[in-house]
């Protein structure tokens, strides 16, 4: 394998070549040379070139649902990895929303065995509690030893604050990080979308921003009490951002991410009851959206995720109230977040949020762009416009509202060791 990436703008704050335009030669899974541009092409190399081409450490998505085992009709590990590669990601953290859930060593090992040695590294997240029921702690330490990189019950928030205290305290010994989704289910009740003028117009039951911020406030107080490390997944409200910002100032070990679609959309997109926009947390108001972008800019929100949640057509093509929450996002993730952010946040910070911070949060080594280091790279074209088609999605599911829409920015190639894909 010989790959020559020509005249490529390097984005890697950990590299001496950061913010330079070079030719990159990848041979046998390593970055063998970083040189000034030359017309000479080493024999037998595949050339990747193009207008305004950029390269960064391979992207990492902190929040994907691969549905295997249990829901293979929506996604399986193979199709999930294909979708991740198509979206420019060389690593993902997959949620334990499987059946059975990833709540013991054997499920962790199942995921790792089924995905070993592939282009996309799949790291499992284990459950905090058995069956994600919020009652008994799962075998956190055993899962951690087996390779679980974080613990979460995903969208089953811990109602019982005592369980959160015990989980945080227990994980401190070995440095495990909890990821929580903040929603007070009594406040969001049977809500179907963000509560606001849009929900009033549509007669849909609203989920107030309060349902998120009340829970974030509670969880932060618990964290201050018990210590440990806490990560908030898919923060969606202005109040949530403010609370996390204050907690970081206070010195709590807290991190957070935001879903790409929350950066681009506001809740007026639901005017036609399109269930592909039905997600959790719900698409919020424009005020929330702007605060999320501000939070990303100042580092309150560390990372951006795609919240890739595949759903079959039967779960989506139905009356709005009855449809499931979630959209697929891996393949469109960069296009969506880049379209939302390109005139507002530096590309350097965007790359930080999708390549550097996700690995830092999980304690994984961040690949760097240096001569001799293992190649773990995403090549991308931030200014290229493209129209999303069903065939551009490698996921088994097509629950994306972006099909037919034009986005700016797309990945061009992913390289991880000896494996690569030109997209």
């Amino acid at each position: 394998m010989n790959l020559l990436i020509r005249s490529v703008h390097i984005f890697d704050p950990g590299s001496p070549f950061h913010q330079t335009i070079k030719d990159l030669l990848v041979a046998d899974g390593r970055i063998s040379a970083i040189t000034d541009h030359s017309e000479k092409i080493p024999e037998g190399s595949t050339v990747i070139s193009g207008e305004g081409l950029c390269v960064s450490p391979g992207w990492f998505d902190l929040h994907v649902h691969f549905s295997e085992p249990g829901f293979e009709f929506r996604e399986d590990l193979q199709s999930g990895m294909a979708a991740a590669a198509q979206g420019g990601f060389t690593g993902v953290l997959c949620m334990p929303t499987t059946q059975p859930p990833i709540h013991s060593k054997s499920e962790v090992e199942f995921i790792l065995k089924r995905t070993a040695g592939q282009l996309v590294e799949v790291h499992p997240a284990g459950c905090i509690t058995v069956n994600r029921e919020g009652k008994e702690l799962a075998e956190l330490y055993d899962m951690w030893l087996s390779g679980a990189k974080a613990f979460t019950d995903d969208q089953h928030p811990l109602r019982n604050a005592g369980v959160l205290v015990r989980a945080l305290t227990y994980c401190k010994d070995f440095g495990g990080r909890l990821m929580v989704y903040a929603e007070d289910k009594d406040l969001s009740a049977k809500g179907q979308m963000n509560e606001g003028p849009s929900s009033t117009l549509l007669g849909l039951k609203g989920m107030p921003a309060l349902a998120e911020s009340v829970m974030i406030a509670r969880d932060l107080q618990v964290l201050a009490y018990s210590g440990g490390a806490l990560h908030f997944s898919t923060v969606s409200t202005a109040e949530g951002v403010a609370l996390i910002r204050a907690a970081k100032k206070q010195g709590l070990n807290v991190t957070a991410d935001v879903a790409a679609y929350h950066l681009l959309l506001d809740d007026s997109v639901l005017s036609e009851f399109d269930t592909n926009y039905k997600v959790k947390p719900p698409i919020r108001s424009n005020i929330d959206r702007n605060e999320l972008i501000a939070g990303l800019q100042d580092g309150t929100l560390d990372a951006i995720t795609t919240d890739h949640r595949p759903l079959d057509i039967e779960a989506k093509q139905k009356e709005y109230d009855l449809a499931d929450f979630g959209m697929v996002g891996l393949e469109t993730g960069f296009g969506v977040l880049n379209t939302a952010l390109k005139d507002k946040i530096s590309l350097e910070r965007i790359i930080d949020a999708i390549a550097i911070q996700p690995r830092r949060i999980l304690g994984l080594t961040t690949p760097t762009i240096r001569e001799g280091s293992t190649a773990n790279l995403t090549v991308f074209s931030p200014n290229e416009s493209w129209t999303v088609t069903r065939s551009a999605l490698k996921s088994r599911s097509a629950n994306s509202p972006f099909i037919g829409q034009t986005l700016t920015g797309r990945p061009v190639a992913v390289i991880n060791g000896n494996r690569y894909a030109i997209l």
Binding site: A189, E195, G203, L204, F273
Partner: protein
């Protein structure tokens, strides 16, 4: 203008003011028809209409069915309780099965907001929304505005208060859109727990005090407390609701003007309004019912014109 700008009647939100005026002019003709000794016209002969009711309804279904029969349409009725819905069939499949039997217009009542919009996207027929959850109930709003127009000779410039359970009411939302399009000023009044948090964004006045609302308005539309739709308690008791929001004759008589009282029915007598208010000469509740048939005839007639 002799045609509606839409193929469906999904909500008042999508209608132009001209559409509403066309429906009213057409309803004027049908109102004259249904007061003749022979109340039937052959306008929709050979048109087949299916009434799909996925939620209980007596008066709306009867009103639609009478409107259809007086237009000489062929009518089939379908109620969820007797249907395949309980066997797990999807809405699209259910409706496509009915359409395969050559049905032209679907009238649908459904518990979920947006159900009519969803159906219109996925099946090939004209859809009339007969109420979708807490979203819209366009024919109710049309008949209400039509009744106001009949009483006052106009809608423009009038002040209409909608009182009661705004949160669970599709009637309120459609009424607000309809009255605003016709130039009326709208106020909502009720306990704050029964008002959507962002209701003011609809451009309505918000009033918590019933007396003040009544003093302000020309017309009070007293909505029914939809206990069947409240999965949690929004106020402590019916008794306390009546104390604060029940309209009785002494309150009505204490106003320094004669306002018009409306109610979409069915009335909980002694709750929203007392019997002597419902039966007073200020109430136009039965006119609303009569106008319901005429306006629904107008809507079906105009939509069928697009079918051909």
């Amino acid at each position: 203008m002799s045609n509606l700008t839409t193929k469906h009647l999904l909500g008042i939100k999508d209608l132009q003011k001209e559409d509403i005026e066309l429906i009213f002019r057409t309803a004027d003709n049908f109102k004259e028809v249904i007061n003749r000794p022979i109340k039937k016209v052959p306008s929709l002969r050979d048109v087949t209409i299916a009434n799909l009711f996925f939620e209980n309804s007596t008066r709306t279904r009867l009103s639609f069915e009478l409107a259809e029969r007086r237009l000489s349409a062929d009518v089939i009725n379908f109620a969820a309780s007797s249907s395949s819905v309980s066997k797990g069939e999807t809405l699209i499949d259910t409706v496509n099965n009915i359409l395969a039997m050559k049905v032209d217009i679907i009238v649908m009542r459904h518990p979920n907001p947006g159900a009519a919009v969803f159906l219109a996207k996925h099946v090939d027929a004209s859809i009339v929304n007969a109420g979708d959850g807490a979203h819209e109930h366009p024919t109710q709003a049309l008949l209400d505005a039509y009744s106001i127009r009949e009483k006052f000779g106009k809608v423009d410039g009038l002040k209409v208060a909608i009182v009661g359970d705004i949160l669970h009411s599709r009637v309120a939302l459609s009424n607000i859109f309809c009255l605003q399009k016709l130039g009326a000023e709208v106020m909502v009044c009720g306990p704050e727990t029964l008002l959507p948090k962002h209701v003011a964004s609809l451009g309505v006045k918000v009033e918590k005090d019933l007396r003040k609302a009544l003093e302000w308005c020309d017309v009070a539309n007293m909505l029914r407390i939809q206990l069947e739709r409240q999965d949690i308690r929004y106020f402590p008791s019916i008794r306390e609701y009546v104390m604060r929001y029940g309209l009785n004759k002494s309150l009505l008589d204490s106003l320094d003007k004669k306002i018009t009282i409306m109610h979409p029915g069915p009335i909980n007598r002694g709750v929203e309004i007392t019997s002597d208010v419902a039966d007073s000469d200020q109430a136009i509740i039965l006119d609303q019912v009569e106008n319901g048939v005429a306006t629904r005839m107008a809507v079906l007639y105009l939509l069928a014109g697009r079918v051909e």
